[in-house]
């Protein structure tokens, strides 16, 4: 023990009755092992001055002690403070502040009441009646009922932020409102008001403004699988004939008609490459899944991916019959279209007798990893006999960093990296791309602010609710430009197109946009000199 460690706490202070504007006060708090953020706040309250903060149960049930800790929404009572130098504590984002850390929950209560989250049925049945539903449904119902109403989901949500700052663009309030107040009643077999609840979901919640970015899932103390629930709800909206939006239907129509979700413009990748790309002394062989955007729009990315695999002595097979993964349909609630695509693609890929599938699109990856196993299990009673990898994941996990071909040329540039939601939170891949970036000589790397926040293109929002998408995208562009870099790297065709457009629209293309795979291929090419 060499003296006690003190943490600097920068705390948001504001009392509208006294202060013209908010300010940050600084306090020193002696750190103890196992100290929670709530204890830190209480220490300030007792030893410095009576700051206003809200808490009741102290054990994560009442859900009232939510605050922003270093920009992340947390429950103060459940958050342990590490032995750090400094922390910043602010009231939950996307709320009006009553005083200091105390947010105004009243408008949230009003929204909740408007959703009528009580059981509606007429006439009344016998008490404690027989209810037959599966244990799975019951468990799900209980889980959703146990929402703590802490609003961390709202504070973390980029769409709710738009709703808070520009209510004319969307009324989207955050996950709690459909998870607890609508989904529970939609699950309830007794409820007789399902149609109006779906209408509320579409109109009052603006369900199509959710980019399914999973930020809410990341912060939820109950660990709700929120975007998946949103997709199930969108499927219910579609079933009831209330959705999806026009922009979404086009995708689904194209998939059904052509096998691709978008219109053909230039020569597709599949027509540019041979079915089998042979390499001398292959160390491995993989199937390559292109996805619609890489096949029809970003063919270069596909060529780069094949190039990178070749440089690592991997034999690449590109099945020519492959089709859209179905993701655009699934995300907007047209599950059956997605299911048909799963069956087709899995059958085609399994027929090659090669187990590993590599792809460069996180949207496809998530669909393959998350939805396909479920659909195939339901239809065939077994899992697909395939292992699915994103390219950098494959390079790091399968080839391995020591075996990886490091004959990379220099690229002199300062860059930052945007985490695609589907890749980071959907598939748990964020270390791998950074490990690869670190290998490229000359490349300087700077992390941007909010690097893991959505770009606004996911979940069909770019197609269906463009103004919301642009608002979220602009914030991303702001953060990229503020990082002061030459280029921004990413690995998702949707993010790529969205961020490129946003940087062009708001900053005249000030920062260049690169697909990470392209940059790796370029580094290999430069090595030849």
């Amino acid at each position: 023990m060499n003296g006690e460690h003190k943490i600097i706490v920068k705390l948001f202070r504001y009392n509208p009755q006294v202060d013209k504007q908010s300010y940050y006060a600084t306090y020193e708090v002696p750190w103890k092992e196992g100290m929670t953020l709530l204890e830190v706040l209480n220490y300030i309250y007792e030893n410095y001055e009576p700051i206003a903060f809200r808490y009741y149960c102290r054990c994560g049930v009442c859900g009232t002690c939510g605050v922003m800790l270093n920009g992340q929404p947390v429950l103060a009572c459940r958050t342990y403070i590490n032995r750090v130098e400094e922390i910043i504590v602010e009231p939950l984002k996307n709320f009006n502040v009553i005083r200091d850390l105390v947010i105004d929950r009243r408008s949230m209560l009003e929204r909740t009441i408007k959703l009528e989250p009580w059981l509606i049925r007429r006439p009344k049945r016998e008490a404690l009646e027989r209810i037959s539903w599966s244990l799975g449904e019951l468990d799900k119902f209980y889980l959703l009922m146990s929402c703590r109403e802490c609003y961390l989901c709202r504070a973390a949500c980029p769409a709710a932020e738009v709703g808070f700052k520009k209510p004319e663009l969307t009324q989207y309030p955050g996950a709690k409102f459909y998870i607890r107040d609508l989904a529970t009643r939609l699950l309830d077999p007794r409820d007789e008001d399902k149609q109006s609840r779906l209408l509320k979901l579409k109109e009052e919640i603006d369900a199509y403004a959710c980019t399914t970015c999973k930020k809410c899932w990341e912060v939820c103390p109950r660990e709700f699988e929120i975007p998946e629930i949103m997709e199930e709800l969108r499927a219910l909206i579609a079933k009831a004939g209330l959705g999806p939006l026009e922009g979404h239907k086009t995708f689904a129509d194209y998939i059904v008609k052509t096998g691709r979700s978008i219109e053909r413009q230039t020569t597709p990748l599949l027509e540019q490459v041979p079915e089998v790309v042979e390499v001398p002394d292959p160390v491995d062989e993989v199937l390559f899944f292109t996805g619609c955007l890489i096949d029809y729009r970003l063919q270069n990315v596909g060529l780069s991916a094949i190039e990178v695999l070749k440089r690592n002595s991997v034999r690449v097979v590109v099945p020519k019959e492959q089709q859209c993964c179905g993701s655009p349909a699934i995300r907007s609630g047209l599950v059956e279209v997605g299911r048909a695509q799963a069956l087709k693609n899995v059958e085609i890929f399994e027929s090659y007798g090669i187990k590993k599938v590599v792809m460069g699109c996180p949207g496809c990856l998530l669909t393959w990893k998350l939805n396909y196993p479920r659909y195939i299990m339901e239809e065939r009673g077994r899992l697909p006999n395939l292992e699915v990898y994103e390219l950098t994941e494959y390079l790091v996990k399968v080839i391995g960093l020591n075996r990886l071909n490091k004959n990379l040329g220099e690229i002199n540039m300062t860059t930052t990296y945007h985490d695609s939601c589907h890749l980071r939170r959907g598939c748990g891949i964020w270390k791998e791309p950074r490990e690869i970036i670190n290998l490229i000589p000359g490349l300087k790397f700077k992390e941007m602010k909010e690097h893991d926040v959505c770009c606004g293109s996911g979940g069909g929002v770019r197609a269906g609710r463009r103004p919301v998408s642009v608002e979220i995208g602009k914030r991303k562009a702001d953060n990229i430009v503020a990082t002061n870099v030459d280029g921004v790297l990413m690995e998702c065709p949707f993010c790529y197109i969205q961020i490129r457009d946003m940087l062009n629209q708001f900053y005249g293309g000030k920062v260049k946009v690169f697909y990470l795979i392209d940059l790796i291929a370029e580094a290999y090419r430069r090595a030849e000199g």
């Binding site: 209480n42 009576p50 009741y56 009442c62 009553i98 005083r99 105390v102 059981l119 209980y142 146990s146």
Partner: protein
């Protein structure tokens, strides 16, 4: 002079947990205007609001009613009022079934029928689960109950011997509310935090709201309280079945076996109060215009497992009775002003040698924990009483550092300390009089039960003095 917002209603409910919400619903269903004041966040407040979910015991078939009655009587060690328990077992099933109409669904078996589970001290499986506090809170809004949450009821105001309303502090708007009502229901919960700490070690698992405000308000208004010496710890609940008819030596042996517990540092912790404001089988207190339900109400002597059903049955009773017995009377402005002056003088007090309210609270709760909570003796109780009197003398020195009326929790803490001192005195004096050990009440110096104490201690303020009185139990112990 601060502005006071005037609110008028038919029925006023103070407290937003299970009992208060159920009372408000019952009154509203009879077509009257209802205002509910909740110190916490509505739907997430009180013990019921901070439980992950509710377990509610109820006799599902009529034949089980007698057995449930016997279980409850046995668990009360002869101290419960059998008239109240009769009402409880007769009406339990209906109020539990209603929870499903509100939107809950209890566990079902393979056929889809409700599937009750066992609980400590119950001879039958009769606990239905889960139900959620927020579901009931939504019924308030569906029915048009006017809710003021994060609003602290500072005092009851009486006129001509009848409770005529209350003065409250609305934290979110930083304003005073003078609520005029034709009937007033107390549902403020227990006083677990009389023994607790806001931070580690907790010593009470209750949310920090549970400071016995309702007990103090009722006492000051002239209500009679009962069984105030009985409070249950987690230790108790966990080992109650193994202890059975508690002998203090077994309890001490267990305490020794769990060394941490004797250090009074971590576990066990206080979580439930068995006594409170005495009510009749309609939820009336002895003060005209004042009703009570839930943990603040006494006479049922319910253990924590059964408290929720007590909240629901007597919440409903109190709500219905209050709505039927409303009397329109004045809320005299001079009484309101007097109370306004009192709460503001606590806010603006600037004494020499100031003590922030949390310090006094800590001092009080430490004493209550160490000398009164679990294992006590004549000596420890007398020491505690002396200390409480000392703290009482320190009350004029309570200094609220923050003078803003907006979300000023420190101000509320100061007012809570006043209430807590009152309740502490009642608890200790009742504990001193009970020279035996019974149920959850344990005295080291009187380890055995003594039939001379088969009955209850009642407490009441008479002519400014605290008067305690013993009345023999209504049940025959031989039965």
């Amino acid at each position: 002079m601060s502005k006071v917002r005037n609110v008028e209603t038919d029925v006023l409910v103070i407290g937003g947990g299970a009992a208060g919400m159920r009372a408000a619903i019952a009154a509203r269903d009879l077509g009257v205007e209802v205002v509910l004041l909740d110190k916490g966040v509505i739907g997430r407040s009180g013990v019921s609001g901070t439980l992950p979910y509710w377990n509610v015991p109820a006799p599902l078939i009529p034949e089980d009613q007698d057995k449930y009655f016997d279980d409850l009587m046995k668990k009360s060690h002869g101290l419960a009022n059998p008239r109240l328990l009769k009402v409880l077992v007769a009406e339990a099933r209906d109020v539990v079934a209603e929870l499903e109409d509100f939107g809950n669904i209890f566990l079902r078996d393979a056929l889809g029928d409700v599937s009750p589970t066992h609980a400590n001290g119950h001879s039958e499986a009769r606990v239905l689960t889960p139900a959620y506090s927020w579901v009931m809170s939504m019924q308030l809004f569906k029915r048009g109950v006017k809710v003021f949450d994060e609003t602290f009821a500072a005092s009851l105001i009486k006129h001509e011997g009848r409770v005529a309303g209350a003065l409250a502090i609305n934290l979110k708007d930083g304003e005073l509310l003078a609520v005029k009502s034709k009937a007033t229901i107390l549902a403020t919960g227990g006083f677990g935090h009389l023994f607790g700490m806001s931070m580690k070690p907790w010593r009470s698992v209750n949310p920090i709201e549970l400071t016995g405000d309702g007990h103090a308000l009722a006492y000051e208004a002239g209500a009679e309280l009962v069984d105030m010496e009985f409070h249950q710890s987690i230790f108790e609940s966990q080992y109650a079945s193994s202890i059975g008819q508690t002998s203090i030596s077994t309890a001490l042996a267990l305490a020794k076996a769990f060394r941490v517990s004797i250090t009074f540092d971590e576990a066990p912790s206080l979580h439930h109060c068995l006594g409170g404001v005495i009510i009749d089988d309609h939820g009336r207190t002895n003060v005209p215009g004042l009703y009570a339900c839930g943990e603040v109400a006494g006479g049922l002597h319910l253990r924590s497992t059964d408290q929720l059903i007590g909240c629901l049955v007597f919440g409903k009773k109190a709500g219905e009775t209050a709505a039927k017995e409303m009397i329109s009377i004045d809320l005299p402005s001079k009484h309101v002003e007097k109370e306004v002056d009192r709460v503001l003088s606590v806010l603006y007090n600037s004494p020499r040698e100031p003590i922030p309210p949390f310090m006094l609270k800590k001092k009080l709760t430490s004493i209550m924990w160490e000398k009164v909570a679990l294992v006590k003796t004549e000596e420890s109780l007398k020491e505690a009483l002396r200390a409480v009197y000392e703290i009482k003398n320190l009350l004029p020195k309570v200094y609220v550092r923050d003078k803003s009326m907006l979300f000023n929790k420190e101000w509320i803490e100061a007012l809570e300390v006043y209430n807590m001192v009152t309740v502490a005195e009642i608890v200790i004096r009742a504990s001193l009089l009970r020279r035996e050990s019974r149920g959850v009440f344990r005295r080291i110096d009187y380890p055995a039960s003594d039939d001379r104490y088969l009955g209850n201690f009642y407490v009441k303020k008479v002519g400014g003095e605290m008067v305690l009185e013993f009345r023999a139990s209504l049940v025959d112990p031989a039965k």
